[in-house]
């Protein structure tokens, strides 16, 4: 992916917030972004699986990105939003805190993650785009949905 980004000078990212950090996924892989949906929990599933949601008649698995990235759980009462991404095995929803704007990045802004990032997160974060006043962390979608 970084190679394709290098060839193209710019790349659009759908951004969202997780535990105060700004994350982004390439717009091409995003099917849609929707507000909080009632979720059905799945006993016995790994804790990164948030539950099942009804997306217009389709049953879709929602993954809790905070848990996936080893972050502390969302505060009680704060409902997550859904970023629905397309994967090889159909649509999967990523649960995030808030949805941000679509941001255009330039390849020149990109830098791979420093070694100090925890292993769990480093697996899923391809690197950071150094924006003017913050860092945009690029999520590796295909890895993030491998639970």
């Amino acid at each position: 992916m970084s190679i394709t980004s290098a060839e193209k000078a710019t790349q659009l990212f759908t951004t969202f917030v997780l535990d105060g950090h700004l994350f982004g996924v390439e717009v091409e892989s995003v099917q849609e972004v929707i507000r909080y949906q009632e979720m059905t929990r799945i006993p016995l599933a790994t804790d990164a699986v948030g539950g099942l949601i009804n997306l217009r008649g389709q049953v879709i698995t929602a993954l809790d990105l905070r848990r996936r990235l080893g972050m502390p759980d969302r505060q009680e009462g704060r409902d997550p939003m859904n970023v629905v991404v397309r994967t090889e095995d159909g649509a999967v929803s990523l649960l995030v805190d808030e949805i941000g704007a679509v941001i255009e990045t330039r390849t020149a802004q990109f830098e791979p993650p420093p070694d100090t990032v925890t292993a769990k997160a480093k697996d899923l974060i391809r690197g950071a785009y150094k924006l003017e006043n913050t860092l945009l962390l690029a999520l590796d979608v295909s890895r993030a949905v491998e639970v």
């Binding site: 009632e38 979720m39 059905t40 929990r41 799945i42 006993p43 016995l44 599933a45 790994t46 699986v49 539950g51 099942l52 949601i53 009804n54 008649g57 389709q58 049953v59 879709i60 698995t61 993954l63 095995d89 159909g90 999967v92 639970v147």
Partner: protein
């Protein structure tokens, strides 16, 4: 698609259908070589293919069907009599034609197949002079130039049904034409007294049926279109559920009325669409006679195929999925089960083996049975093999019943075939069959009697997409339980919530009409609750479920409703959790998980985990012993020892005076119902030692009979009959014992009845079979 493509397409579809029929007809013809109907049907099919392939310039196809047609015409004219060699050649021709058609379908051309040898063979057979039989009268076999879709004329129908002579009809027709008679032929014939009115009526009916069945009443529909329709109907059913639920909360009469109507229509539509996807099982079965014929010929065996219930209908996808398992079972039966004619005669059976395929509906499921009258499956051989392969330890084997042992053939990597043949017995066998059946929500079971044959019984659901289900709640969530496994509901209220559920060594049970029902707490199985009922609870429900041949009660918080649900698959993130069969969307739009009853029962050790490949050796037999409810006969030895015998292994209790004991060889026997009943004194068999009783004493004997053979187990005293969940059995097993358990507050040993019986009569199972 241009016009030519369309013609080719139609030709292909039609020809494939005809060829399947041809296979069947040829095999049937072998049994009845002079059948006029079969011969003309076969001839017509080949003739049609020949004609069309000539028209479409498929020359290889034309060449091969041409020689085939010539051969068939000599058969039809009685110049040749059908021999197995001829049948094989004709079947090979059918295969060649099929190959060419496939090639046309895939590449648009015939490819460059070499059929010279086959053509030569067919030509040679054609000129070979076998015993000719008298030609059939020409008027009986009037198929020389059949129309592609022939609708027989009334006269022909009447002649072929034998009510009138050809000449009479011709005469009548000539009269009709020459005199300009406007009356229909039938009327003329009736009036001239040549035929009765009702014969004409029947013939007219047959004629009408013929017309409708081929042209008017059916159309071809693309399967993907049906699948799409099915999905849409699924969505509609969901939406209907939502609207109906919504309407119920509103005080709007019009809305309620409309929603009721919608409810009705959606149900009917669903049923209708479901029906369009139903196909008779015959569409899979019709390949069987050919397979059996070819196989039995190559093994030098004689096998007759019988079919019952070929019209039984199944959803297309399910039907597709049963194809491979069915073929495998049929091949297995011919290859392994049915003996050679010599061996069969030696065993006192008819030289021709029988393979019976049976299908029937039963409580929303389809049962398919495949029965052979071959040599049967010997549990002893299977058991030994399982131990040899390391699937089980001998101790575990000792604890298993014959039926359980037989079912070991479904274990992965199990194949008893001594020699690997090219047909079956490659080690990937029955386990694959079982997995395939289970994939479509079915079960498979085997029953066998040594020397008498084997029956495989497959149970599969009618359809997969929409199922009736019960929704329940547990720890605040709703779950759907497929109604196929539902037996009944028990509501516990007030006092009963606490007192109704009893414990046997920590295993909860409920007395359901006097029988102990093992209980499984859903919240505990799903790890969302404590696995016992809160003291403050006012009500609780026990959902009585059937898993394989066991019943168990699933304890849930509440029962919500029954509704039709659309089964949605789970994403791969959740595939690893066996407890769920899928998910569905309920009337309020929320997602609910569908419970997999069998997996739940296995997880809770209610049913044997024999199929659990991962658990391997430990899982299977250990699970078997865990928590079955059994009715036990408790017997005593001396002052202290108590022993339990499963009531299923007790035919009668008898008393014999000691004086009546006689000896046959080294054995003690008594005369019993005109038979010699071998006795075994359990106390000595188990090494408890016994003192020679006084001659006036009476022996307490537990008699077990099977297939006319009986043995008597001598015990000291008969104590009681107890119902017991054998959940807490310990495994320190002495000779002749399966272990011990607490029965009625006493330590009680469990007798290994099979071993005891074999000690009394070593040939008991060999002849009786199990």
């Amino acid at each position: 698609m241009n016009e030519m493509d369309e013609i080719v397409q139609e030709f292909l579809v039609e020809s494939h259908e005809n060829l399947d029929q041809l296979d069947q007809n040829l095999v049937a013809l072998e049994k009845d070589p002079t059948s006029r109907d079969l011969l003309s049907s076969i001839f017509r099919t080949i003739h049609t293919i020949k004609g069309t392939s000539g028209f479409l310039a498929y020359h290889a196809l034309e060449a091969i069907t041409h020689v085939g047609e010539n051969l068939l015409s000599r058969l039809r004219d009685g110049e040749l009599v059908l021999t197995p060699e001829l049948t094989s050649a004709l079947l090979d021709m059918v295969d060649a034609v099929r190959g060419l058609l496939r090639s046309i379908e895939q590449d648009g051309g015939e490819g460059e197949p070499d059929h010279t040898e086959l053509i030569e063979r067919l030509t040679r057979l054609q000129s070979s002079t076998s015993e000719p039989r008298p030609a059939l009268p020409a008027d009986e076999l009037d198929v020389e130039e059949p129309a592609p879709l022939p609708v027989a004329k009334l006269g022909e129908v009447l002649v072929s049904s034998g009510v009138v002579e050809q000449e009479d009809v011709v005469e009548a027709v000539i009269e009709q034409k020459s005199s300009g008679d406007s009356r229909p032929l039938g009327e003329i014939l009736v009036q001239t007294g040549m035929v009765a009115q009702h014969d004409v009526d029947t013939a007219l009916q047959a004629q009408a049926d013929g017309k409708r069945s081929v042209a008017d009443s059916s159309i071809r529909v693309d399967v993907s279109l049906l699948d799409a329709l099915m999905n849409l109907v699924g969505e509609l059913v969901l939406t209907r559920n939502q609207i109906v639920q919504h309407a119920a909360t509103r005080d709007d009469l019009d809305l309620t009325r409309a929603s009721q109507r919608l409810n009705l229509i959606a149900s009917e539509l669903q049923e209708g669409v479901m029906k369009t996807r139903m196909q008779p099982i015959d569409s899979v079965w019709q390949k069987v006679p050919r397979v059996v014929r070819d196989l039995s010929l190559s093994f030098g065996k004689k096998v007759r195929v019988e079919m019952q219930g070929r019209e039984t209908e199944l959803d297309r996808t399910i039907l597709e999925a049963t194809k491979d398992p069915l073929t495998h079972l049929v091949r297995n039966a011919v290859d392994h089960a049915i003996e050679t004619p010599d061996a069969r005669v030696a065993a006192g059976k008819s030289p021709e083996g029988t393979l019976l395929l049976r299908a029937y509906h039963e409580s929303g499921q389809v049962n398919i049975e495949i029965t052979d009258d071959g040599k049967g499956i010997d549990p002893a051989v299977i058991g030994a093999k399982a131990v040899e392969k390391g699937l089980l330890t001998p101790e575990q084997l000792g604890r298993m019943g014959p039926r359980e042992i037989t079912n070991l053939i479904f274990e992965a990597g199990f194949s008893t075939s001594q020699t690997v043949t090219n047909v079956s017995g490659r080690g990937v066998g029955m386990d694959v069959v079982k997995t395939n059946i289970e994939k479509i929500g079915g079960t498979i079971d085997v029953q066998s009697r040594v020397g008498h044959g084997t029956t495989f019984r497959i149970k599969i659901p009618l359809t997969l997409a929409i199922i009736p289900a019960l929704t329940v709640t547990c720890a605040g969530d709703r779950y759907a339980i497929p109604q196929v496994s539902l037996l009944e509901l028990v509501r516990l209220e007030g006092e009963a919530v606490q007192s109704g559920i009893e414990q046997i060594h920590g295993a909860p049970v409920y007395r359901l009409r006097g029988n102990l029902l093992p209980l499984v707490y859903l919240d505990r199985e799903l790890a969302v609750g404590p696995g016992q009922l809160d003291r403050s609870r006012q009500t609780a429900y026990i959902v009585v479920l059937q898993a394989e041949d066991r019943q168990f009660g699933l304890v849930v918080d509440d029962v919500v409703d029954t509704e039709e649900i659309v089964v949605k698959p789970l994403s791969k993130h959740l595939k690893g959790i066996p407890c769920y069969a899928g998910a569905t969307i309920l009337g309020d739009g929320r997602v609910a998980l569908i419970l997999d009853v069998l997996a739940l029962a296995q997880q809770a050790n209610v049913v044997v985990v024999g199929r659990d490949r991962g658990a391997g050796a430990q899982g299977s037999a250990g699970g078997a012993a865990s928590s079955d409810i059994e009715t036990l006969l408790v017997v005593g030895f001396g002052a202290e020892r108590r022993m339990a015998i499963p009531l299923a292994m007790v035919t009668r209790l008898e008393e014999f005076p000691v004086g009546s004991i006689e000896h046959a060889g080294s054995r003690e026997v008594v005369q019993y119902r005109d038979q010699i009943l071998p006795l075994i004194r359990l106390s000595s068999f188990l090494g408890l030692g016994y003192s020679e009783p006084a001659t006036d004493e009476v022996l307490q004997v537990v008699v077990y009979s099977e297939d006319g053979r009986s043995v008597g187990l001598v015990v000291d005293t008969i104590l009681d009959i107890a119902e017991q969940v054998l959940s807490s059995r310990s495994d320190f097993a002495d000779h002749g014992l399966l272990g011990s358990a607490v029965v009625q507050e006493h330590i009680t040993e469990l007798l290994d009845v099979r071993q005891a019986i074999l000690a009394a009569d070593p040939h008991f199972y060999a002849t009786a079979g199990v």
